[in-house]
Structures are given as structure tokens and as C-alpha cells.
């Protein structure tokens, strides 16, 4: 660090650093707070387009961090939506060792590198923090008259292969869930998957009766609930608090039908230990803030704070699980 200070010829970065160090001291934090602080704006890379689920979460984090003045430098969201996340992950690979870039992920973090044989996957990056696990529900249109899972299975079979399921993208979360459903209920080949661009559009197409069912996240279905969309069952181990009356698949005798979308933060590989500690502290504050608690309960997400070695283990498990799912669909070979 001394080296970099010497190299910097302009006074401003020096002053910022001095000032932020001063603040740390002034606050009287007894804990050994990380010695590293961002000295440049932090690139907050989002592996999806503007306005999507990941984008919303990233901008919410930006809001919470800004309002609480937790970072001496701004978080600047940058959308890199190309190639179902490939563009964003390759970008992080190219920023190896740079502590001023972080990535907010979805599950294409696991599926895209496997499917596209990218030179990057979770092991090439630094896991920082997991903030939430988004949940999934099976939805139908209220006009369909379907009230429970038995009705659903009957209705799918009655349509003789013409049943449609809308979802976001191809070979991503929604299609994996659809495939899990088909396997569990012996509906293989009876459901046609229709890919759309975003969860909001998927929900609209169900509400408008253009597809027969969806596996939307709760927040995507809420605008049409309870008027036009009806949740049938949840892909969670416990009932979702916001949808108390909706059974889980586990209760319905299909305990393997559990699926989450992780919302986590990753940094490029090889960043300084101090920087990792600073980010961990930052997102720990965020995850335990009232704003985050409030948002996650309103949107029926599971707040799930995790960091350090357990997070690495979680990623490894998820990676194996996703590879298995993809192999089960015949999309991936050993």
C-alpha cells in the first residue's frame, strides 16, 4: 500500500485515503477493521440486462450502501447481459486481482460456464457474500379452474402434449425447474417450454392466458395475484410466509422439488485479503440492515447471509447440483 501511495502523484486520492482512515479512527472501531478501502468507484457488474431481477437487486444494494454511507466510493452498476452471463463472467476473469470490480450473480453463474465451456467458473473467482435465495412457485391462470397439484397434472395430461410453460431464457432456472416438475410427475414430453426475456413478461403472458403455467418468483407474480394468477405449490422446504396458504411440494410428497435462485456477490480471483475482508464486512452490514430485511420479507425472498468458507462450500454444492440437472436433461455430457 505504501508503494501505491508513493506512486500516486496527485493529492486527491491521498487525501481521500487519509480522510477515510481518519474516519475509521474517529469512529473508534476497536475491531481490527480491514486496512483496505476502495480508492476508486467500484464497478458493480450485473450479469443481466437493465430492469431484470438481478438488476433490481443490484440497484437496491446500491441504494442501501449509498444511503448509509458505508462506502467511501460509489458503487456503479454496469449491465453485462450478453451470453446468459458469459460476458460478465469473462469480464471478471479479465480483471483478475482487481479489487474494484464485483459481480452480482444468479444461477446462470453455474449453468452458463458448464454449457458454454467457458474458461471461467466459480472457482476462478473470489466468493464474497450470499445475501438471499429467491424462491419459486408453480403458477396457473385463475381462469383455468386448477386449484391444486392433482388438477394441474390432470390438466397437463388432458392437453396431450400441448401444455405450455413460460419461463425466462433457455436452459436457465425456469427450464430446470420445469424439467424437475416433469420428472417428478411423469409428464415428460407433455409440457412445451416457451422462453421469454424476463420474469415480468413471463408473468404477464400467464395473466393474459398466452401460456398455461409458469414457475415465476413470488415478486414477479405479485402484480397479478390474486386476481389473475394462482400459486399451486412452492419449491421450498418450508411454506413461504407471504403465501401461507400455498403448500410446498415437500408436503405434497415430492421432497426433491426444492430449488432456489442464489443472489450473491463475487469478486475477481486473486484480490488482496484485506479487500475481501472489507467487502465481507460491507455486505454483512447490508444483509443485516433493516432495509434488506424489509425488502426480502416484502418480496418473499429468503434472506440468507453467508460468507467465507461455508459460501465456497455452498457454491461447490450448487455447481454439482446444476451439472446433474443439466445432465438429467441431456444438455451436458460428463
Amino acid at each position: 500500500m505504501m508503494k501505491s501511495l508513493k506512486a500516486s502523484r496527485r493529492a486527491i486520492p491521498f487525501l481521500t485515503l487519509a480522510l477515510s482512515l481518519f474516519i475509521v479512527v474517529a469512529l473508534g472501531t476497536t475491531q481490527a477493521l480491514a486496512a483496505w478501502k476502495p480508492t476508486r468507484p467500484i464497478e458493480f457488474v450485473i450479469m443481466a440486462g437493465k430492469g431484470g431481477g438481478a438488476d433490481r437487486i443490484a440497484r437496491l444494494m446500491q441504494k442501501i450502501v449509498t444511503q448509509n454511507k458505508w462506502s467511501p466510493q460509489p458503487l456503479v452498476p454496469i449491465n453485462k447481459k450478453g451470453g446468459s452471463g458469459a460476458e460478465a463472467m469473462l469480464y471478471l476473469l479479465s480483471k483478475k486481482g482487481n479489487p474494484h470490480v464485483i459481480l452480482v450473480t444468479l444461477n446462470s453463474f453455474f449453468t452458463t460456464p458448464a454449457l458454454r465451456k467457458l474458461p471461467v467458473n466459480y472457482t476462478k473467482l473470489t466468493p464474497v457474500y450470499r445475501l438471499a435465495m429467491d424462491t419459486f412457485l408453480l403458477w396457473v391462470n385463475t381462469k383455468s379452474g386448477i386449484k391444486n397439484i392433482d388438477d394441474f397434472v390432470k390438466a397437463v395430461k388432458a392437453k396431450k402434449g400441448k401444455w405450455t410453460m413460460g419461463g425466462t431464457g433457455k436452459m436457465q432456472e425456469d427450464q430446470l425447474v420445469t424439467n424437475m416438475l416433469m420428472q417428478a410427475y411423469g409428464l415428460k414430453g407433455m409440457i412445451t417450454y416457451v422462453p421469454f426475456r424476463g420474469g415480468g413478461t413471463v408473468a404477464k403472458n400467464l395473466a393474459g392466458g398466452h401460456v398455461d403455467s409458469t414457475v415465476n418468483n413470488p415478486s414477479e407474480g405479485l402484480p397479478h395475484y390474486p386476481g389473475k394468477m394462482r400459486p399451486i405449490a412452492a419449491l421450498t422446504p418450508e411454506r413461504i410466509p407471504a403465501f401461507k396458504e400455498v403448500p410446498t411440494f415437500k408436503e405434497l410428497g415430492q421432497p426433491q422439488l426444492v430449488y432456489f435462485m442464489q443472489r450473491s456477490i463475487n469478486a475477481p480471483g486473486g484480490i488482496p485479503k484485506d479487500a475481501l475482508a472489507w467487502y465481507t464486512d460491507l455486505f454483512n452490514k447490508l444483509c443485516n440492515s433493516n432495509e434488506w430485511k424489509d425488502y426480502t420479507s416484502k418480496k418473499a425472498l429468503n434472506r440468507a447471509c453467508l460468507s467465507g468458507a461455508p459460501l465456497g462450500k455452498f457454491f461447490a454444492n450448487e455447481d454439482t447440483k446444476h451439472k446433474k440437472l443439466l445432465m438429467g436433461m441431456g444438455l451436458l455430457k460428463n
Binding site: 430492469g51 437496491l60 458454454r116 402434449g161 412445451t192 415480468g200 415478486s219
Partner: protein, 508 residues
Amino acid sequence: MEILGNLFYGLGVAVSPQNLLMALFGVILGVAIGAMPGLGSVNGVAILLPITFAVPPTSAIIFLAAIYYGAMYGGAISSITLNIPGASTAVATTFDGYPLARRGKAADALVTAAVASFIGGTISIVLFTFFAPPLAEFALRFGPPEEFAVVLLAYATFAGLGGESPLKTIIATMLGLLMSTVGTDIVSGSPRLIFGGITGFYHGINFLVLAIGIYGVGEIFYTLEEGFKTKERYQAKLGVAEILSTLKRLTQCTSTIMRGSLLGFFVGMLPAAGATPASFMSYSIAKRFAKKPEEFGKGALEGVAAPECANNAASTGSMLPMLTLGIPGSPTTAVMLGALFVWGLVPGPRLFVENAEFVWGLTGSLYIANTMAVIVAIFAVPIFIWMLRMPMTILAPIILVVCAVGGFSPTQDMFDVYLMFIFGAVGYIFRKLDYPLAPMVLALVLGGLTERTFRQSMIMSHGSPGIFFDFAGHPIAAVLMMVSAVLFVLPLVPMILKFRVSRAGTSS
């Protein structure tokens, strides 16, 4: 009249000093952002979003809506003065706006754009105020087949508008469609045409990169060759007398503006379609109905009024599905929708009841922001006219820098800046060879949507094209397909007639 009561309540919310100030700031920033090629309302709203964290959601949405609104006005400015559309919504404005500017009538064009935008916006806001919930029901009926039919209609209205050579128009359109397939394919999930993994192609070819390249950079190349004959090009004047005479002439465009505004609102309201096809369709329809269609493309005021009223009407229209269905009608409303979630609001019919202050405060502020925007835009005209009087030797480098920033900002990728300069060369060659540029841009803008909705429809119907002509199952799609078919055939009728007449002539 419950709605009138709500509206007055909303106006009351909107005229609180803080909200008025937010609207004014938003409009001024919006006009500036819109006038900067490449910044545009999407990036503007995204960049300025953090500013709104400090104020309550109602003030924040008023601010963002004002930016969106102002940017629609501002977008016309760079289209008219520099021939660089700052957003896809302003492409059609270049067709007649720039020829007018070259004839020294930039001021007329700018005033026309502002006034048409104001009328389009106002009509749209009134429709929004009184019919939002039932219209949301209507918008829900649009699935992939209906959306495809709308896009086809946009192409159909545009057919027959190309240059003198239909073959060149077809080639330009095909090139645009080809470029729209670059990047991730949503149906198979695979990246296409990335040439062995060039990362810059993963996100596809951004519209702005093409538009700024072929219009902006191409224009500079072209001007370099022509020499800098600035004096004859821009002798624009603006005074009260000029504004009044323009307003007087605008009264002749009343029916164009009315048609464009209604069309803009309805097309804008449909999720996915948005303001760009609306502005193109409005322009084409204006030309078809015009008394002197031959003036279009050479500097007709109607040719500026038509797309401008439509894109403003559409921008309000696109807020409707955002608030009532939670789906964005345009890229900018997608960012605003994200903001809604950040504030902890859930869009949908219940928003109108549970967050009445928010919804009606926004509605009220739209009336106010629209009025502010027209005033700001007209006051800004002299600034841009002054800018145009700058010698080209100074203006050209500035434009090039602005273009580079514009190419960089949407994706923050230097690759796109290089690509933009390549497109600049393409634009120059196209102009030399007399190829029309607009069909290529339109095809790139609509190509992705066309392909996506078509393939989604085919998946839904299990491969049967009958889904587009199913009067029982998809009546809206079927009717729109019929209209498109008629519009495609219409330009051929005079050709066939001429052919028969000439044959009759030779045989006798």
C-alpha cells in the same frame, strides 16, 4: 367522477414545492440528456437513479418521469440539428428534420417537434388518466402472436417508403436483420455470430452504435468531402415572429398530429413494441395521408410532427403497463420499474388503491412536466441554433467526441466504439452508393423482437403458422395480419396497373 377527484388530488401532490422542483430539474436534465446523442433516456434514468434515493418515492418517480419526458423532447434536437438520433425513438425525426435544418429551417423544425411532442404527450396523459385500468386489461391480451403482428404492421406501413430502388431497400433491410441476430439467441440460449468468441459481440449490436456510426460519424465523413460550406447550410433564425408563423403552419398538421398521438399511445402501451415502431408508423401513415407526399424526406414539417407526437405519446403509454402490470413498455420504463421495486412498491391494480399518492401524484405531475418540457425545449432552441452556427472545423471534432461517448455509454465497452467507427465508414459508402439507411436501422431495432415473437408463437402453436390467422383464438393477431397484408400489397397496385396499361398499349 371519482377519477376527476383523484386527478385533482394528484395535481395537489404534484404542485408541492419539492415535487415542482423535482419536475423542473428532471425536465431540464432530460432535455439535455436527450439532446446528447448516445446518452438517451435509458442511461440518463439509470445514471440519475441514485439521486432519487434521498427523496420519497413520489418525488423520485416524478423526477424520473420528467427526465424520460424531457429526453423525448431533447432527442429530436440532435436528430434535427446533427442528423444523429440520440435514441431509436428519434430516428424517424431525422428524415425530415435534418433536411429542414440544411435548408436553414432548423428553428421551424425544432419548434414543430416541441409543439407536436406537447400535443402527443397531452393526449396520451388524458387517455392514461381516464382509462388506465381497462387499457391494462386490453394490453394483457397481447401475447407473442399479437406482438409479432404489430411488428409486422410496422414493417408494412414502412414498405413502399424506401428510396427509388426497392432492391437497395431490401438489401439494407436484410443487412439490418442480419445484424440483429448477433449475440445471444433467446430461444436456443446459444451465442450466435460471435466470430469464434469475440466478447464484444456477446451482447449483440447495440442500436445506438449503428445509428451513431452511420448517421453521426458517416455524416462527418461526408461533410469532410463536401467541404465546410457552413454558411449556406445553417442560417437559422429564431424570434417570436418565427415561432408564431411556425405555429400557424402547424395548424395544417392537426390531423397528422391527432393520428400520430393516438397511434403512439396505443403502440407504446403494448409491452415490447414501444415508442420506436410507433414513431415509424406515425411517419409512414402521415406520408400516406399527405396531400404532397413527395415533400416527405425533403423537409416537410408534417414529417417532423408525426414521429415526434407519436414518440411522446408512446412514452406515456409505456408507463401504463409498468404501473398496472409490472412489465416495462420500453427500456427506460424497465429501469423505472426497477426503481419501483427498490422503493418497495408492487406494481399492479392494487398499486392504484394502496399507493394512491404515488400513482396520482405521478399522473398529475405528467401534465405539469409536459408543459414545462415544451417551454424548456423552445427556450433551448436558440442555444442549439447558436451551436449550429459554429464553424464546422470546431463542430466536427466536438460531434466526433460526443459520438464516441455515445457509442461507449450503453455497454461501457470500447469494442463498441471501434464498431461505431466502422459503421461510420459503412454509412459513408452507403450514402455514396445511394442506399437508404433508415430501413437498416429499423430492421436492427425491430429485428430481435420480430424473431423472438415469431419463434415464441411457433413454439406455442407447436409449429403451425395458423396461430397468426386464428380468428377464434387470436382475433387481434389475425386482424392485424390482414391489415399488414393489405398494406404490403397496396404499393404494388399502381405498379401492376402501370404494367397492364403499358402492355395494353403495346398490344393495340
